[in-house]
């Protein structure tokens, strides 16, 4: 009986883990390029999801067009976030840049309340995926969609970063911004691209999470924070590990729910974050690499 519960927890954890994985990839892209922790990452997901909802309701798009439109909308939102935060304070103190992303998250949340109201919204399922049963494991339509979308997005991002000129520039800036600049890379353009890609990933995450848990005006910060925890679990260095960090966190949370109530589960998750940050002081490493 317990193994059945566990199998179910793993499958539901995978659905949420895929969303955390996508959010973690977005965090990672922005942090590695610009050394900025984006507090508005969750609001990127929120506004992307609500925008897609309005688009789907207004135009009744085919699902392929819907996904493309979602990616494009997320890309534009990411660029806009860059232009209004880091783009405005390029030479400012890092703390001021950080706090501007906090202010951006407040503004975007306010915009969501003003345009879409405070009631939760269900995002319709866009990709026509079937339910799946593998032995004792039952994968719902939402889990299959989240896994397929997130794996495809992660794969495409890997190909982009490895095999395109712009992707190489992003990696170069992530490794050493000054050296990349000396080689002719425009770091400002790279930051903008990272924000835009992060927006695209957030839009895809919204597509996955919207039908599962609905979209609420106050969900952004919590989802963003989980994305950060997942990125920390993954170690910020490789796309695969960061994505797996998200999957691990989702499955861990689902497993903890079996033993503890929701509040203790959250407390233990954040305890894990602190323990990881103490054991693997990533900030220090990156500060020296700069």
């Amino acid at each position: 009986m317990f193994s059945l519960y566990l199998a179910q927890a793993v499958t539901s954890g995978l659905a949420l883990g895929a969303v955390y994985g996508l959010m973690a990839l977005g965090f990672c892209l922005i942090y590695n390029a610009s050394r900025l922790i984006n507090f508005a990452q969750g609001e990127l997901l929120l506004l992307s999801g609500l925008g897609i909802l309005s688009l789907v309701q207004a135009l009744n798009l085919h699902w392929t067009l819907g996904i493309l439109a979602a990616c494009l909308w997320g890309f534009v939102l990411g660029l806009f976030l860059y232009a209004t935060t880091l783009g405005l304070t390029m030479r400012a103190h890092p703390l001021r840049q950080l706090m501007l992303t906090v202010a951006a998250s407040l503004i975007w949340q306010g915009l969501a309340i003003l345009v879409w109201g405070k009631q939760p919204h269900v995002l319709p399922r866009m990709a026509p995926m079937p339910d799946l049963r593998l032995g004792p494991m039952y994968f719902s339509q939402d889990t299959v969609t989240a896994m397929v979308v997130s794996l495809a997005a992660g794969g495409l991002l890997h190909l982009f970063l490895r095999h395109t000129r712009t992707g190489t520039a992003v990696r170069a800036v992530s490794m050493h911004s000054l050296a990349a600049t000396l080689q002719g890379v425009n770091p400002i353009r790279t930051y903008a691209i990272c924000f835009a890609l992060s927006g695209t990933l957030a839009a895809l995450a919204a597509m996955c999470v919207g039908p599962q848990t609905m979209l609420r005006h106050d969900m952004g910060f919590a989802v963003g924070l989980k994305g950060f925890v997942a990125a920390t679990v993954g170690g910020y260095s490789s796309l695969g590990r960061v994505f797996l960090g998200g999957i691990f966190l989702g499955v861990l949370e689902a497993g903890l729910v079996l033993a503890f109530n929701n509040e203790l589960k959250e407390a233990l998750t954040f305890l894990l974050l602190i323990a990881l940050l103490v054991v693997m002081p990533l900030g220090e490493k990156h500060a020296h690499a700069r």
Binding site: L100, L106, I107, V229, L264, I274
Partner: protein, 331 residues
């Protein structure tokens, strides 16, 4: 001219700071004397935020460490004091300092292992600390009242059964605590540990190589900040008569950090003025309805963009700069 080997440290009220003290607390005293009792409610809430901002200034302004758990420390004070007062109703004189000591110990214990983290990661780690506090409060409703909150009806009591309460008393208590905190900040800044903290803020590696025990000194600053927030929270809990996790949520920590950055970390009075001015402005926005959150965010973002650029300039210098009569100074 040769410099003396041991230059005399600047006094607490040197370099015009005495005037700042007199100006800020003079205006505060005038508000306390002239404002009607119902207005003091809003003033006291602003003072609570001022105390949190000042507390954060010990960690960030002196030690250079970002902390987003200030709301949690404030909440710890409120909950510890309210719970202990239920069992020892006349023990305010030891309960409030004991709560502050406990919270200071928690602050130091949090700071020490996290000291090595870079600012963004430290911010996130302390967000984690705050979330742990909120979730622990929610997880034990039989002790803390959970999401529905708990009554903090037992008033602060002095030996002899003298109970303390009312808007006027809490205004005096918050103002007095702010005055003591500001004096401690100014005194610490001009002391040997204060200079060690400033060295840690400016260049942690250089500070370590000069023999400063970075984790220890920063833990002390963290503990001081946590204790001050805790004292503010204890007072607020008894003042409000009811406490819930919503009063000490992450929004309080975020606002505290935002106002400190707007006013300038490491400055004593400009963050406090930023709190009073912006909070008064934001509290007048209720008529906006659903647009209130958006306008609040826009105002804070504008303050973040404009505030630091204006800092350190007199109105006359700003006007001259705006008219193009002098070259722009390096920010």
């Amino acid at each position: 001219m040769p410099m003396p080997d041991n230059p005399r440290p600047a006094g607490v009220f040197s370099q015009g700071r005495g005037w700042s003290f007199a100006g800020f607390f003079g205006v505060l005293a005038a508000v306390g004397l002239l404002a009607p009792s119902y207005e003091l409610l809003a003033v006291n809430q602003h003072l609570l935020l001022c105390l949190n901002v000042l507390a954060l200034n010990f960690c960030l302004g002196l030690g250079g460490q970002v902390c987003m758990a200030q709301g949690a420390f404030c909440g710890m004070g409120a909950y510890l004091s309210a719970m202990l007062h239920q069992y020892y109703p006349g023990g305010s004189l030891w309960i409030v300092p004991a709560a502050a000591l406990c919270t200071a110990a928690v602050g130091a214990a949090v700071s020490r292992p996290l000291e090595q983290l870079h600012s963004g990661f430290l911010a996130m780690a302390t967000v984690g600390v705050h979330s742990i506090f909120i979730n622990v409060v929610l997880a034990f409703p039989q002790v803390t009242g959970g999401a529905e909150g708990m009554l903090s009806a037992v008033p602060l009591t002095l030996p002899g059964g003298v109970t303390l309460g009312g808007d006027g008393f809490y205004f005096l208590a918050f103002s007095g605590l702010l005055l003591v905190g500001a004096f401690m900040y100014a005194a610490l800044e001009n002391s040997r540990p204060g200079r060690a903290l400033l060295a840690c803020r400016e260049d942690p590696l250089a500070a370590s190589s000069c023999g400063i025990n970075r984790p220890a000194i920063r833990a002390q600053a963290f503990a001081l900040g946590a204790a001050l927030s805790c004292l503010a929270g204890s007072l607020y809990g008894h003042y409000a008569g009811f406490i819930s996790p919503r009063q000490f949520d992450l929004g309080l920590s975020l606002k505290t950090l935002l106002y400190l950055v707007i006013g300038g970390q490491g400055r004593l009075f400009s963050p406090l003025v930023a709190v009073v001015v912006l909070e008064t402005l934001l509290s007048r926005l209720d008529f906006l309805g659903d647009a209130r959150s958006l306008v609040q965010g826009l105002l804070l973002a504008a303050a973040l963009l404009i505030g630091p650029a204006m800092r350190g300039h007199t109105p006359r210098a700003l006007l001259r700069r705006w008219l193009g009569k002098s070259p722009p100074s390096v920010a």
